[in-house]
Symmetry: C2
Subunit: 416 residues, 2 copies
């Protein structure tokens, strides 16, 4: 099954906004075993839209068109599609009714141009949009599908699994497609590859996709079979095989986030955490507090950028900083212990290091980092030598700090 992608809008061809729909759609299709032979972006211009459709449909079984379904004059996608297919437009009264109701429910003023969003090419089947006003629709043109959806990324992300994928699954034939994402951190792509080299994929219905998402790596397993039980069994088998080979570096699955996993562990164990950050500058606390409900277990964060704040707020003795330096194992451990004790939290996490571009020395170059975690009984500290520039050093340090905390809380042995 080949599915082309066409995004429409002057805001794309002028670089006014960046298109995120194409890579999202391509990935969703790819993990289901469908190819995307070509993706294109053109402006709001009838000639270009028609020529692009010709080009794509020649090479595809279906095309997903996004954008240009709004109520304003420059939203011409539906008009162009109808013209392209040689079909008149019709007003769908049932859809119009839902749009009017949506306006009423939100207290928005109705203007007649909104009726435009209930116009479809004759023969099109409207596709419900669970999160926006504009409906999508699908047309069958000589066996090829033209599926049209609004361009708002949030709406595309809802309509794809709920509406588009079932549509294409139906066309692709009664194939069950099951996917599972395994999220890894702390292992280079080449090492993941070689660890999985003997995975018994042959003879199963499973294929493997590798998606680097700095600083994480995502492995997507896709099972495809007309026999649902078979697809399920294969997915479970291969999933187990990956876990056996890489469990030390797996932090979660599917929609999991590292900060969410930590929140779940803290909640489960009824523990609280406080964080002392030097080089990460607040980024760890920022990620921890992205989780709804984190106020239940996150006591406080200290961005101890100055030596004075390390001493005053965390109780790191001046002599330790003088003797070992603010960037040292000794300081990191005392910061973690200090923030835990002074805040009354159960767990303390601390980072110190040199983010650069200046501040590096021969013995401690830019990228030198220490991360410590302590619960009062057990303290671990790990050092790193990163090679990136300032922002990436902050990001990778934050990821490692979260990952070490997750391993610490989960009682995993390889926390160091």
């Amino acid at each position: 099954m080949n599915i082309g992608i066409l995004t429409i809008g002057n805001e794309l061809t002028s670089g006014r906004i960046a298109d995120t729909n194409t890579s999202y759609l391509a990935r969703e299709f790819h993990v289901r075993g469908w190819d995307v032979p070509v993706s294109m972006a053109v402006g709001d211009e009838a000639g270009a839209i028609g020529e692009a459709l010709d080009f794509i449909l020649e090479r595809s079984d279906a095309v997903v068109v996004t954008g240009g379904l709004g109520p304003t004059a420059d939203d011409i996608t539906t008009e162009c599609i109808a013209k392209y297919c040689g079909l008149p437009l019709y007003l769908d009264e049932a859809v119009l009714q839902t749009i009017r109701e949506r306006f009423a429910a939100r207290g928005l003023r109705w203007t007649d141009n909104n009726a435009k969003q209930a116009m479809f090419p004759q023969g099109a089947e409207p596709l419900r949009n669970p999160v926006g006003t504009a409906w999508g629709y699908v047309l069958n043109r000589g066996g090829k599908l033209i599926a049209v959806v609004p361009g708002v990324p949030m709406e595309v992300k809802r309509m794809t699994p709920e509406v588009l994928v079932p549509l294409f699954e139906q066309k692709a034939g009664k194939t069950y497609i099951l996917t599972k994402t395994i999220k890894l951190f702390g292992l280079a792509e080449a090492l993941i590859d070689s660890a999985l080299a003997d995975l018994p994929l042959a003879g199963t219905t499973v294929s493997l996709g590798f998606y680097p998402r700095f600083p994480e790596n995502h492995l997507v397993l896709t099972a495809r079979s007309a026999d649902r039980a078979r697809a399920e069994a294969d997915l479970a088998l291969i999933g187990k095989g990956v876990v056996e080979r890489l469990s030390r570096n797996i932090f979660g699955y599917d929609e999991d986030t590292l900060e969410g996993m930590i929140g779940a562990l803290l909640t489960e164990k009824k523990l609280t955490i406080s964080i002392a950050e030097s080089l990460t500058g607040g980024l760890i606390a920022d990620r921890i507090t992205n989780v709804p409900g984190s106020s239940a277990y996150f006591e406080r964060g200290i961005v101890a950028y100055s030596n004075r704040s390390k001493t005053e707020l965390l109780g790191v003795p001046e002599e330790v900083i003088r003797e070992h330096g603010a960037v040292s194992r000794e300081t990191a451990v005392l910061m973690a212990e200090g923030v835990r004790k002074t805040s009354g939290a159960d767990v303390g996490l601390a980072t110190t290091g040199i983010a650069g571009p200046s501040g590096g020395t021969g013995a401690k170059p830019v990228g030198t980092v220490f991360i410590a975690v302590s619960d009062g009984t057990r303290t671990v500290c790990r050092d790193f030598a990163f090679k990136w520039e300032r922002r990436r050093i902050k990001e990778i340090t934050t990821q490692w700090a979260l990952e070490l905390t997750r391993r610490f809380l989960a009682g995993e042995s390889h926390v160091q």
Copy 2:
């Protein structure tokens, strides 16, 4: 001048990585007055590449091709371009020499497949890559330019202004193209539009581009003229006109960032700052510490998520929290004052609010936010009622906190 864009790579059509080059290139071309009639992505496949080039060149004066210039077997762009143009490949000895030197300088082991990167279609002019191994090249095919550059975004961002733009400027004729970006915050697009409605653009060589970059708005002025002095004068005139109309909401120009502006103001005035964050959870400190050298003026940050931490670390009396709430003007002001005094910094900045999704009440719904800034003599506090979800509330609050601090430090009168 019409310039099409073709990105090549299976990593794009599979959604393995998101393409950021297209929107970058489209914007760089658009602000110079060049149109992008179409952009496309295809996989590493000779047939598709040729057909895509046909489609694009029919509609463009030039095409920029990115990706597939590496040394490995699946990097087939040059081969395909040569075949498409009916040209043999040649080895450019001078380019080969620079590649060998680059390997030697970095202590990398030379393997013969790297010589592939010195192969070009006969008649192509190699284009130097200032930051990577792979050179680009340009071909003139019946008056139309085919410019090929590596796909690494950092390399595209260097080669575009240094190599591609001069190339297209030459083709477009001796036109001077000058641009200036004006960065705004805190004003809706419609208000910016209406404020600029009487801008005397007519009769000048300047055009205006509007680029929303949440939560900022960027206005790009482009002057195009064969007469350089004219372009400069027009750009200065319109730039002045924009500043006159919108100065209250302009925080910087071109490469400026809000956190960088604050750093410059603090440095200039020899002041230090400390930050107390509740709902922003460390995001303000994170942005402040993204600026190299920020340790010179950033004393500390306190992520005072719990009431206890607000009292213990910032000296907010328990009674104030009990009476007015942790999310209140009174608490915000005492947090800003508290973090300033206890840290010994010159300026204190504080945020408190409800990021949601839970925690809202009738009187203080999700999105209620207070931001306070104090230097001991003067304290300002502003409240907001944001409508977004958790992450966006954190981001917009952080932006407002930085903007109010900038106005406060700059002595601007509209800080409230």
